[in-house]
Amino acid sequence: MPFKIIASQCTGCSACESECPNVAITEKGGTFVIDPKKCTECIGHFDEPQCVAVCPVDNTCVIDTSFARFQVRA
């Protein structure tokens, strides 16, 4: 499942943007959004989702359960 950003909590600090290995995060009107098609949950890149690890506001980058879990293509 990709991650999403809860816009009302985002400080717009941009820390997540440069950490995402898939360039899935971009700015939209002062806050940041994740493109669910690009997010791989950081699987295969890092041990933890980078947006979650760097975000200063806890529970702002969260799993978007409306999508299926990301599968590493074999």
Binding site: C13, A15, E19, V54
Partner: protein, 518 residues
């Protein structure tokens, strides 16, 4: 970096080359090569900074207690991301009504920032220093930070560049910092003991992982100290900022002071924690208090001697523009600078600044001649006095209009600057704010006198009642000279038995006033 909150913001520091060697000079009395040194003391404004370093910082408003009357600095906020979390920082907080250290209301792109710098520098010829501090860490945003510096360097080679960082990423970027000829780097170091660090930093983000607790604090501190050493080796001035947090690192900062000093930092700026619940920081919500002015002064005094201490930091907003204590940022909003016709003229700036220098040195010589009088009295009485000033080293503010008081310690060894006390203005638009009078008096009631250009009858009576003597005899005269003259007379009065010297206690400063103090 850390700019954002308090600390950083303020001043961005830095410096020097053969630091180890210089420190050796610094520790020994009478070896200041600069000439004009009076015994163990130091020439006005220079403190115990070695001569070579002084050359580099004398025109820096944040380092030289004198220069800040003459030179201006500006900060540009281009680096909002951060790689650590501090318990005194809330990065959610950033609104235009809020004026508190470290806060910026405008986030600029490197191109906008460079344009703003040019606009300010061509309007304000005293502007000599451009800093990147918070909110965020300049080195957690290396592309934006370095791009901004590059753009400024192209057009304005005469401006000094500085940055404030939490130090976590510093060792990785040291070569670029050197290449861009950054003058000063300030690192905020609040501990050298990871157990203490764990109480200040809930986490850090390092090498793609979030670390917490003691492990996080240990990595952070190792990287910070490594950064100090690397800067010293490259001859880049390194200043340390520390936030004094009572009950957590207050006593420990003496150790921090030693640790950074021998590694080559040239200046230590200990700033008080500013915390109130409205800021929504962890410390604010937990009710962690900041230090009282007396506690801060005691800590400064106990670190003094080990290293030059900075005492005049005002914990500026991260986007402050202009002379310290005079924020002109409203004149330079993005909208306004885009319309300004900007011409950067290095030559005319140089001429302007050399005029400032002439005036300054003439003034220093005159002041020194005036200051030798007290020296044969051997009283060990020390008193604090507050001064209402708009700058230029003069007593030139009305009591009712003062937004802050400068506090000096007077003794037979001279006049020593102790710090700023921001207050809520007593007279607003012609009406006296009676409510504020009590807080103002409480915030300076460790002072034996307050020097003002003018004062009304009612506050005069209340000050006298509180044991603070209002002195308007020296209106529009230089601070050093006037306070020494008053002190000499004070000692005479004590010696003749006309008055009895009493020690005063710690004032109850209202922290909220600090917040609105630009």
């Amino acid at each position: 970096m850390d700019a954002p909150t308090q600390q950083e913001a303020s001043s961005i520091g830095n410096e020097i080359g053969e630091i180890t060697q210089l420190n050796a000079v610094q520790m020994r009395c009478g070896r200041n090569s600069g000439g004009g040194t009076t015994g163990c003391g130091s020439p006005a404004g220079r403190g115990d900074i070695p001569a070579e370093t002084w050359e580099k910082v004398k025109n820096h408003p944040c380092y030289s207690e004198q220069a800040h009357h003459h030179y201006a600095r500006m900060h540009v906020g281009v680096a909002p991301a951060c790689n650590i979390q501090c318990n005194y920082c809330n990065r959610k907080y950033d609104c235009t009504n809020e004026s508190r250290p470290g806060v910026v209301s405008e986030r600029l792109t490197p191109e906008q920032a460079a344009r703003k710098v040019m606009a300010v520098a061509s309007t304000v010829p005293q502007m000599t220093v451009v800093g990147i501090a918070g909110p965020g860490d300049p080195l957690a945003n290396p592309e934006k930070t370095f791009k901004t510096f590059e753009l400024i360097r192209e057009v304005a080679p005469d401006l000094k560049l500085c940055m404030s960082t939490n130090g976590l990423a510093l060792p990785d970027h040291i070569d670029t910092i050197k290449k861009l000829n950054v003058d000063h780097v300030t690192i905020t170091i609040n501990m050298v003991d990871p157990e203490i660090g764990a109480k200040i930093y809930p986490w850090i983000f390092y090498k793609h992982k979030r670390y917490t607790g003691i492990q996080a604090a240990k990595i952070l501190n190792d990287r910070q100290l490594q950064g100090v050493e690397m800067l010293a080796k490259l001859g880049i001035l390194c200043k340390i900022n520390s936030v004094m947090i009572p009950g957590i690192n207050d006593q420990h900062l003496i150790e921090v002071n030693k640790a950074v000093k021998w590694r080559g930092a040239f200046l230590h700026n200990i700033v008080p924690l500013i915390s109130s619940p409205e800021h929504g920081t962890v410390f604010g919500l937990r009710g962690q208090r900041g230090p009282t002015p007396g506690e801060l002064k005691a800590l400064h005094d106990s670190c003094e001697g080990d290293m030059h201490m900075m005492r005049h930091c005002r914990q500026c907003r991260a986007d402050a523009v202009g002379l310290l204590g005079e924020d002109r940022r409203a004149e330079f909003t993005t909208e306004k600078i885009m319309q300004m016709d900007v011409k950067y003229d290095v030559e005319s700036r140089k001429i302007y600044q050399s005029n400032i220098e002439e005036e300054r040195s003439a003034k220093t010589i005159a002041e020194r001649a005036d200051l030798t009088k007290c020296a044969d009295d051997d009283s060990d009485i020390k008193v604090l006095v507050a001064v209402a000033t708009k700058g230029s080293g003069l007593i030139n503010e009305h009591f009712g209009h003062a937004k802050e008081f400068q506090v000096y310690e007077l003794s037979t060894s001279g006049v020593k600057f102790v710090g700023h006390r921001p207050v809520d203005v007593y007279c607003q638009g012609g009406y006296a704010e009676e409510r504020n009078l009590g807080t103002i008096i409480r915030s300076i009631n460790d002072c034996h006198a307050v020097f003002i250009a003018k004062i009304g009858g009612c506050p005069r009576a209340e000050l006298i009642g509180a044991g603070v003597e209002p002195v308007d005899l020296y209106a529009y005269e230089p601070i050093d000279k006037s306070t020494s003259a008053w002190f000499e007379a004070y000692l005479d009065r004590v010696n003749s038995g006309a008055i009895k010297h009493i020690e005063l206690g710690d004032p109850a400063i209202c922290r909220s006033t600090l917040i609105s103090a630009a």
